[in-house]
Amino acid sequence: MSLFTILLSALLVNNFVLVRFLGICPFMGVSKQVDSAIGMGLATTFVMVVAAAATWLIQWFILEPFGLPFLQNMSFILVIASMVQLVEMFLHKTSPGLYRAMGIFLPLITTNCAILGLAIMAVQNSYTFIETVIFALGGGLGFTLALILLAGIREELQLADIPKPLRGAGIAFILAGLLSLAFGGFAGLV
């Protein structure tokens, strides 16, 4: 599989949020404004790429040689949690506005299943190091894309006359469903 195929697959065809349904929590939580959606997407992308690289090293240089595959989840979570801490500190220092906009969802990247899922999938597919990083980049950008798409629509919807029972989370879930259906159209591209 070429690197481009891997990237495209993770970005669109097997989009982590809209096709694999991973990482729904920040997808619904931080998609009210495009600005914070971009920030959240990029933060998650960064964590994904770094975590994927680190987990690849851990998997093939520690877990496999020592026969410790059962420690996979634990060590991966360790890596992800540390990376999230790092991102949190960095954002708090460099962009307090973004830090506040993301609120609780920033530390919650730790438990974003898309990241752990990505790391484990990369191992299952026996990707090389470069492939893993590209896979993570595609996954992260796909996550960002999904977030921005939903946030853009939700921003427009602020002005729309939505039936009362559907306002807020209700219409967001319907939108997410429609987006997911739309992304189904990419199936078979790769």
């Binding site: 020592f66 410790l68 420690l71 060590s75 360790l78 890596v79 801490q85 500190m89 220092k93 307090p96």
Partner: protein, 275 residues
Amino acid sequence: MNTTIISLVSMGSLAALFALGLAVASKKFAVETDPRVEEIEGVLPGVNCGACGFAGCSAFAEGVATGKAPVNGCPVGGATVAKMVASIMGVESDGLKRRVAQVLCKGGHAEAKQRGDYDGPKDCRIAHATQGGDKACSYGCLGYGSCVAACQFDAMYMDENGLPVVIEDNCTACGKCVDACPRDIIMLVDEEQGVHIRCRSLLTGRFVRQVCSVGCIACQRCVKVCPTGAIYMEDNLARINYDKCTNCRECVAVCPMNTIEWQEGKALLEKVAVS
């Protein structure tokens, strides 16, 4: 056994490595926070009631420090806290009028009729949702004390007549009782106001008389007698505009149902006429 040791050593060293990295990063990315935020938080009551409109005391403190919240924005702390916050921020506090909760119903067991028995949970909201409760007046106090239970400051109790009483010295105007009351009987009013129309019934006079001996029958005498035009009639109920009321008590004297009540110990007020 061997696996155990290898797992422990490998995971331990990994964790140590990350911990070291994070320790270095936390030094490098240390954020200097506004020291005033902590100071302000120190003088706030710290009950995180949310009455200021912020998500807790620390959020309010941050709001004050960044100029998003007024220094006197804490209704619980009142004037004392407002002064302390103002001195931390280095500005003059323009004084916050203390507000207290007022119960706008006088129909206790003695005055208001029951229309049946209610055996459900002793909670006003549940009673209200159960066919409107057992009181004949569908606007009056149900008397199960949800407001008292909601009060975090021991500022309310139920009297023998089944009505909540506010201990004004303890009341912080946090508004929890206002939210708890399903009948919207409790209202936050400036402490200095001493004249209150203690009825919320929108029934016409005839029906009020059938269910309660102290309800507003919309006779309009108070409206006519009020020298400042502070009382007006809306939906069969006399209402008071506290911005205009001067505590002159003319209305208290003429009210045939004794619905309008004067609280002893409050002074006459001078008010600039509002056009």
